[in-house]
């Protein structure tokens, strides 16, 4: 059973455009994380959100945790080619209980 669904699955945009990636579930999570993965490498943690409604900003990236702690979004402003990669959300259900989403592959075209 897939707990976390990400949308869109693939996204190709021009440099400078804005975009939003979604992570949705019917389960309530104690925390929600976002990772970015480049080809042939392991995922790298970008952010962790733990409070319903929490918003965190990391330069041009804005992360939001849904009020009910079931969903999250990642918004990128003025995308750059360096933002290209696979974005994975992961929901925490307690210690050693982290479930990864299906992933969104982002391509930013120069």
């Amino acid at each position: 059973t897939q707990l976390l669904e990400q949308s869109p699955q693939f996204l190709s945009i021009q440099e400078g455009e804005n975009l939003t990636v979604y992570c949705n579930s019917s389960s309530v999570f104690s925390s929600l994380q976002w990772y970015r993965q480049e080809p042939g490498e392991g995922p790298v943690l970008l952010v962790t959100v733990v409070t319903g409604g929490e918003v965190k900003k990391l330069k041009r990236l804005t992360f939001q945790f849904g009020d009910a702690r079931k969903d999250s979004s990642l918004h990128i402003t003025a995308a750059q080619t360096g933002d290209t990669g696979l974005y994975l959300c992961a929901g925490g259900l307690g210690a050693n209980n982290l479930f990864f989403g299906t992933g969104t592959r982002l391509t930013v075209i120069p």
């Binding site: 976390l4 990400q6 994380q33 042939g40 392991g42 995922p43 696979l86 050693n96």
Partner: protein, 112 residues
């Protein structure tokens, strides 16, 4: 600072051959250790995790096994590889709560 090493980076093995992937962590003690498998460009599937030496939890019944002979060493093994074992294998570590993962660079395994 903590670092995680995983090798080899790529591996091509015939069906029926054995497998041994190794992962070591430096700069931390008593980490939680994990093995994940990733289908091409997709999400991660947890295979095994360990909270201590000799303690292994299996999440998915399969052709693979894991061992933790030392505090900061985690090994993924198989006696006889199947075609379906092909994939990108990732080792990761975390603190005791297991809510933030730090990944190795992965091993691309192709079983032919």
């Amino acid at each position: 600072s903590q670092t995680i090493h995983q090798w080899p980076a790529t591996l091509v093995q015939p069906v029926g051959s054995p497998l041994s992937l190794e992962c070591t962590v430096e700069g931390t003690s008593n980490p939680n250790l994990y093995w994940y498998r990733q289908a091409a460009g997709r999400g991660l599937q947890l295979l095994f995790y360990s909270v201590g030496i000799g303690q292994i939890s299996s999440e998915v019944p399969q052709n693979l096994s894991a061992s933790r002979p030392q505090d900061r060493q985690f090994i993924l093994s198989s006696k006889k590889l199947l075609l379906s074992d092909s994939g990108f294998y990732l080792c990761a570590w975390s603190g005791y709560r297991g809510e933030k993962l730090f990944f190795g660079s992965g091993t691309q395994l192709s079983v032919l």
